[in-house]
Symmetry: C2
């Protein structure tokens, strides 16, 4: 069997002849190779070099190993995780449950059970239940009942009970005499298609002991949901995807537990938010029906699971709750995210909630009602389909300022390195600046000819040079092409058209909105003025916009700690009206109208000139 | 170590010198030796013979083994179990839940889950839950969810789901495509202090596949509740008592499973009724607080348990429900028994419910309210404290007719053998006849002198010869003494006084009662006319009296099969008013007044002469 050795790690593995390099990398437990297209050979993201052949570059997903081989894997952007991580832990403190009145999924309850009397001859168990209060049925394993009488009489009725909440009922899993300290930890987890983020929480006081984020190892089998659903056709592959996400999460758990000096069995509860496909893959549920008409999940809501069932390295009898979704395309990540909105404070003010990634999920509503939809935004914001696009990791241009006339360009690079590409927020900023400086027209076409200023010819289209090759990481010009702008316009049009359709459906207009929430790691970096200028977000007073950061993770954290919020989430999930864009002809109409910068209907947006006048520059 | 060999079985065992014979019998797994007094040496029920010493009789509980020994154990009344058994399965068919609409604790549900549509895009799981209906939360293990999508699509949505109900929630433990047969059995169990009875039930249709009864092996450690509570002082002894009742029940299960050709894992549910102490011993819960002020159980109601926790040889994940009691002295056997009354049919007619054994439990009420109490009836009806008393087993006189003047006596013996003693129902019948024929006066004293007719001197008291020694099994006269009659009067007075006190408390008199239910194996044999004549039961029209047989077992059977009845039982248990007789001075007053035949207050009972005139002889 040929031996494959990977550089720079030095890891090596023996594989059957014909095995593709990518597969060998997985067998060698390399975490660095991504396969956004799922191995179709179309995305080029898995390029590796073969030093023995003069550093020839090949696609790892397409190249079979026929003999002993040395493979150099491009260095990963480890610091990207830090950046993603930061954005994943942006939490609005106001939204968090009051730490003085927590009702976590699992907790150590210290209480005094009064003795029985001739008049009040309730059993020990009945008196304990009464002190626990609440409206949920309570059970206990026999082992707890056996020691109950003694525990209740040892220290004047003072006890510490470990109580877990499983869906609609509670269970007392331990009773000890006296007020004793008992470590009870919980996990809030957001499983994104790209990134997994988690927090380790002290359930006694809600304190976050550690936070971690990491790329979802499933990326090896495809960057987007559709690719992964297709990959999961067989039982083996489904199991493989499940193991990959478990490996990802369990890696985070191990790191966090290490930081908090905790053992796996200290972790007694987990609340998981994720889109419907991610939840299915985590649980090993066949996801195919999500993308086959009539597009239904196998399971939603997900019944409460045990730690052992879940596959997480936590207490085997831990309570694992999974955020309920609305359907196949508005998942539990969105409903969890909504806990970060006015819904939690039970207000009637109307809000717009946007979670924009490869898919955009949009919700309009208030504490009384919600309408949601999902639109295919395309991967432009993730860096795909954009000539110099990249994720928001080290080397990515995330903010741009263009001088008058488009002659000079200043930009901000993540990690303060040489620029390597442009990420989603940089793209929006760049498009806004090009429009602001009159470099492009309302249809996204450059007004100048190649050779004028920074305009160049790039293949068959014109492009704008953001940075010249001598200052760029790759040595080649960093450009934005007309094709890139068309791509961006389609993306922003899809989002705006979806928002408009929801409002049309409920018979309201933009003026009814009193709050716009922008969720998702991506959203952290958007410059609102530019997003409005290009017509992606509505032209509303800037103070109405709020960034939520990783609202799915924050929502999971809130739900982990608060019974009221768990119920709110379940309630929102079961009551939200889902709007299927593909079955509403008005959507295409809205979309076509939005394929301009900012829009064909200048009644919706003032002219670019007016907007520029009104705009207070950042 | 000395060797002890038991005859007639031939079983032998080596024991430490000084071990008592009774202990050796337990170690040799002999089931025949009872120890009603718990080993105090006072009851004489554990007499054994030593053939090597000229068949000298010794008390097994008091006699140490000092050298090799041969011990002859008296033959047991095996057929007694049959008799007890018969009475345990007297079921009023009218009270049983409608077999067409069963809602058992565990069942195979066959249903058709409609496909999803674009309009109704509920998940597979959500659609299954909708078809299951009902108001209970539903959960499922992950393994079920994994196969759900395929099962729902294999046969047009037709599936067979195994659904269990655990307290206030349900769990789907298996889903298979198509309408398939799936054996699901359940157990109804009544754990009495003396006798354990059980039924094996097909949960698909409510059919009873097998029934068994057996003495509770705990009898080895004491005949009554108090003795057993005292014995259970240490963890080891508590565990021993638990093992004894488990051995009893599991023996019945094995026999019934054999009869029904079923395996242990076919048994997926059990509903257990028992008094509070029996429940504590079954679960290994320390029972001491039941008899220490303020007399509270450790656990009541008992949370739902698993088969594995329960120790029963049934499916380890079976659902085990235990009938909720009212308190220490009105247990789950009584609340289960009440399911056999008008409470189940939701009627407002007032009833009196009596379950008479060593303890008498009495309930007055209707579907709206209930008041219950427990009185210490003493062991007279079980045969203890009565010179020729015995349990209702082979050889026991259960019915008596005395000729005019007390000259001739006819009687009926259980098992049609020579008479060996008088059981509880025989005693009541005998007392009634003695009164009827003018042999005793209203205070229970014989009117004749020794030597007149069947009156003889017996120690210091007079006695009546029921059968002369030459026709009796023991060769000695079978008599009833004045001391026996005093004992019986105290017992019946305790019962009548308790009934009266409940009525006084609710401000009603006997005329308000429209039904008298007599429960318990004992009650099967009572002749109502005699029980009224001696003033144990009220003088109400005979057609108002109903025998319920083993109402605890029937109640357990009903609860096993019907959710409505499970809720009724829990409701009755939590709402019943418990009357503590010892704290009400009127009880002693009532009791003293009832220490006559029938009563001091002849306004309550007509004179014996009037009753005799009204009486239609049986």
């Amino acid at each position: 069997m040929p031996d494959v050795r990977f550089l720079p790690s030095g890891a090596s593995v023996r594989v059957d002849p014909g095995t593709r390099i990518h597969e060998a990398a997985i067998q060698a437990a390399l975490r660095d190779l991504e396969l956004p297209c799922g191995g179709d050979g179309t995305c080029g993201q898995c390029l590796v070099e073969l030093p023995e052949e003069g550093n020839r570059s090949v696609l790892a997903c397409q190249t079979p190993v026929l003999r002993d081989l040395i493979v150099r894997v491009p260095e990963t952007h480890d610091s990207a995780l830090r950046v993603v991580g930061d954005s994943h832990f942006l939490v609005n403190e106001e939204l968090l449950p009051d730490r003085g009145s927590l009702s976590p999924i699992f907790r150590a309850v210290r209480l005094k059970v009064p003795p029985a009397s001739i008049e009040e001859h309730y059993s020990d168990w009945a008196r304990l239940m009464r002190e626990l209060g609440g409206d949920l049925a309570v059970s206990a394993p026999l082992a707890v009942l056996r020691d109950l009488a003694a525990a209740l009489r040892e220290q004047d009725g003072k006890i510490t009970a470990l109580v877990e909440e499983r869906g609609a009922s509670r269970r007392v899993v331990q009773v000890r005499a006296g007020y004793v300290s008992s470590r009870a930890l919980g996990l809030a987890i957001d499983i994104g298609t790209t990134t997994v983020a988690a927090q380790l929480v002290d359930l006694d006081n809600g304190r976050v002991l550690a936070s971690r984020a990491s790329y979802n190892l499933q990326i090896r089998r495809g960057a987007d949901i559709i690719t992964r659903i297709d990959y999961a056709r067989t039982k083996d592959r489904l199991a493989e995807l499940r193991q990959m996400v478990l490996e990802t999460i369990n890696g985070l758990i191990a790191e966090m537990a290490g930081e908090a000096a905790a053992g796996a069995t200290d972790i007694r509860a987990a609340y998981i938010a994720g889109n419907t496909t991610m939840v299915h893959l985590l649980l090993g549920l066949p996801p195919r029906h999500i993308r086959e008409s009539p597009y239904v999940p196998t399971v939603n809501p997900v019944p409460t699971l045990s730690g052992a069932e879940s596959g997480l390295t936590i207490h085997p009898e831990a309570v694992v709750e999974i955020s309920a979704g609305v359907g196949s395309y508005v998942g539990g990540d969105i409903t969890a995210g909504l806990l970060c909105t006015a819904i939690s404070s039970n207000r009637e003010d109307l809000f717009l909630f946007l979670d924009i990634g490869t898919n955009g999920e949009i919700v309009v509503g208030n504490a009384e009602w919600t309408v949601g939809c999902a639109c295919s935004a395309g991967p432009a914001f993730e860096g795909s389909g954009i000539r110099c696009g990249m994720r928001a990791s080290d080397g990515a241009i995330e903010q741009v300022d263009i001088g008058p006339g488009g002659a000079t360009v200043r930009y901000k690079v993540i990690g303060d390195t040489k620029p390597a590409g442009i990420c989603g927020s940089g793209l929006i900023c760049l498009a806004g600046e090009l429009l602001r400086r009159g470099v492009v027209d309302r249809s996204g076409r450059f007004l100048g000819e190649p050779g004028q200023g920074r305009i160049v010819q790039c293949d068959t289209r014109r492009a704008f040079v953001v940075e010249y090759g001598d200052r760029a990481a790759s040595g080649e010009d960093l450009v934005i092409t007309e094709a890139d702008l068309e791509n961006l316009i389609r993306t922003k049009a899809a989002i705006y058209a979806a928002c408009s359709l929801i409002l049309q459906n409920v018979g309201l207009d933009w003026s009814a909105i009193s709050r716009v929430y922008i969720a998702g790691g991506f959203g952290r970096f958007i410059r609102i003025t530019d997003a409005v200028l290009i017509g992606m977000l509505p032209d509303l007073p800037r103070q109405l916009f709020s960034y939520l950061g990783n609202s799915a993770l924050t929502g999971a954290y809130i739900a982990l700690l608060s019974r009221d919020h768990r119920r709110t989430l379940a309630d929102v999930a079961s009551r939200m009206t889902y709007l299927d864009l593909s079955s509403d002809p008005r959507y295409m109409d809205n979309y076509v109208k939005a394929l301009f910068l900012p829009h064909t209907d200048l009644g919706l947006f003032p002219s670019v000139e007016t907007m520029l006048k009104n705009e207070r520059r950042v």
